[in-house]
């Protein structure tokens, strides 16, 4: 696939992205701050929004996925880059102690490992992920998600259930 770099100045591109998202999806919030398009969406339209970004607007890169544990809900942030200085930041909130959200690996393949890490540290289950194994913690014996607020640090836990 031939890669096409986005055209136009930063302002026109940001405007184009914002309009593109607004025209196609129901967004909770949308605004441009600096060089960033900030979107807040509901979890069910998230993959549609990212598909638009990738297929319609030609934003090629998913930089990272961030998870914040708000005790009772999880805030996920997807940051997209267009390689010319513009960013798109998509925020969504999942309710519940056992969060489930659609995987975006089919849209951005790089999300594979980002989602594995989010699962490892926070226990967020990504529906449709091809291989949701843990990245850092050992797969078989460690039964915790250490970045959760409910996780208690204890020196004994390191060896708990470890062979």
């Amino acid at each position: 696939m031939a890669l096409a770099m986005p055209e136009g100045t930063l302002e026109t591109r940001l405007e184009r992205y914002l309009e593109g998202f607004r025209n196609r999806h129901g967004l909770e919030e949308s605004e441009v701050v600096g060089n960033t398009v900030k979107l807040v969406v509901t979890p069910d339209v998230l993959s549609a929004v990212l598909t638009t970004a990738r297929e319609r607007l030609g934003i090629l890169h998913l930089a990272f996925i961030t998870v914040v544990d708000r005790t009772g809900s999880f805030e996920l942030t997807y940051e997209l880059l267009d390689f010319r200085g513009a960013q798109v930041r998509v925020k969504t909130t999942i309710e519940g102690e056992e969060p489930v959200i659609d995987s975006v690996t089919r849209i951005y393949p790089t999300a594979n490992w980002h989602e594995r890490e989010a699962y490892d540290m926070f226990g967020v289950a990504f529906k449709g992920h091809p291989d949701l194994r843990r990245t850092y913690m050992w797969q078989d014996h460690f039964d915790h998600h250490p970045l959760l607020k409910s996780f208690q640090i204890s020196t004994k836990r390191t060896f708990e259930g470890l062979r």
Binding site: Y136, M137, W138, H144, P146, F151, I153, S154, T155, R157, T158, F159, L162, R163
Partner: protein, 257 residues
């Protein structure tokens, strides 16, 4: 060499095999090329020209555990890394030694209660020398290597059982995480024990209470009282030998008369 030059013609030197082998071993330590965290940077700097670890015969870092003598555990050991570290240690041929470099390798350091950090390399492998610091300066590592050399110098090849770290209590309860348990079962008492291996006991000492600082660093340190006792004994032996000699002389003169 000074001793050699005193001989006027080719000759034979008598020494114990221990002294010979230990001399060879301590002056050609090959550390394993194995860095875990920021201490590894300090370890590299120790090997470079300014500090020059080669002066102590320990400057060649082998990339393979098969040729290594010393493992310098330089940095935080995460629980996942502990398995790999143990495997590397087991792949090293005997005789082998371990230096725990820095606070993390000694106790877990600032990450002590972290969810993924091993609380000291000595939980999985036996450690010979601890070098404190965060990270230790190159001088400290060099001192650690010199201490290890002292320790090797006093090592015995014959009639000596190598101390092993304690991993189970007397009752057979497991104290620590031990990967090799999985496939050898030696510590569980299932596998046959090699003859001559003592029951497992903790061999390393963390502090010697009421002892002078020299006892912490010098491996062959003996208390002052013991030293004095030895001296007195030697003196008494000498005196006895002298008096015996005198008696002999007296006896011989008596015979002559």
């Amino acid at each position: 060499m000074g001793v050699m030059q005193k001989f006027n013609e080719p000759n034979v030197l008598t020494t114990s095999s221990d002294k010979l082998f230990n001399w060879a071993r301590k002056n050609s330590l090959w550390p394993l090329q194995f860095g875990l965290a920021c201490c590894a940077i300090e370890m590299m700097s120790t090997g470079m020209a300014h500090n020059d670890l080669d002066r102590f015969g320990a400057g060649f870092f082998t990339a393979s555990p098969r040729q290594a003598d010393v493992m310098i555990v330089s940095g935080t050991v995460s629980t996942k890394m502990a398995e790999r570290m143990t495997r590397l240690y087991e792949q090293m041929p005997e005789p082998k030694w371990v230096i725990a470099m820095g606070a993390c390798a000694i106790s877990g350091g600032p990450f002590l209660d972290g969810y993924s950090v091993l609380m000291g390399a000595d939980r999985v492998i036996p450690v010979d020398v601890y070098v404190p610091g965060c990270p230790p300066r190159p001088e400290a590592l060099i001192f650690g290597i010199m201490t290890l050399q002292k320790k090797i110098e006093r090592d015995q090849q014959v009639g000596y059982e190598k101390p092993r770290p304690a991993l189970v209590t007397e009752d057979g309860e497991f104290l620590e995480y031990l990967p090799e348990r999985e496939y050898t079962d030696i510590s569980a008492g299932k596998a046959p024990r090699f003859e001559g291996i003592k029951s497992l006991k903790r061999t390393y000492v963390f502090e010697r209470k009421g002892m002078p600082p020299a006892s912490q660093t010098d491996v062959g340190w003996i208390p002052k009282e013991a030293k004095q006792k030895i001296k007195e004994q030697q003196k008494a032996e000498k005196a006895a030998a002298e008096s015996n000699g005198k008696a002999d002389e007296n006896g011989s003169t008596g015979e002559n008369a």
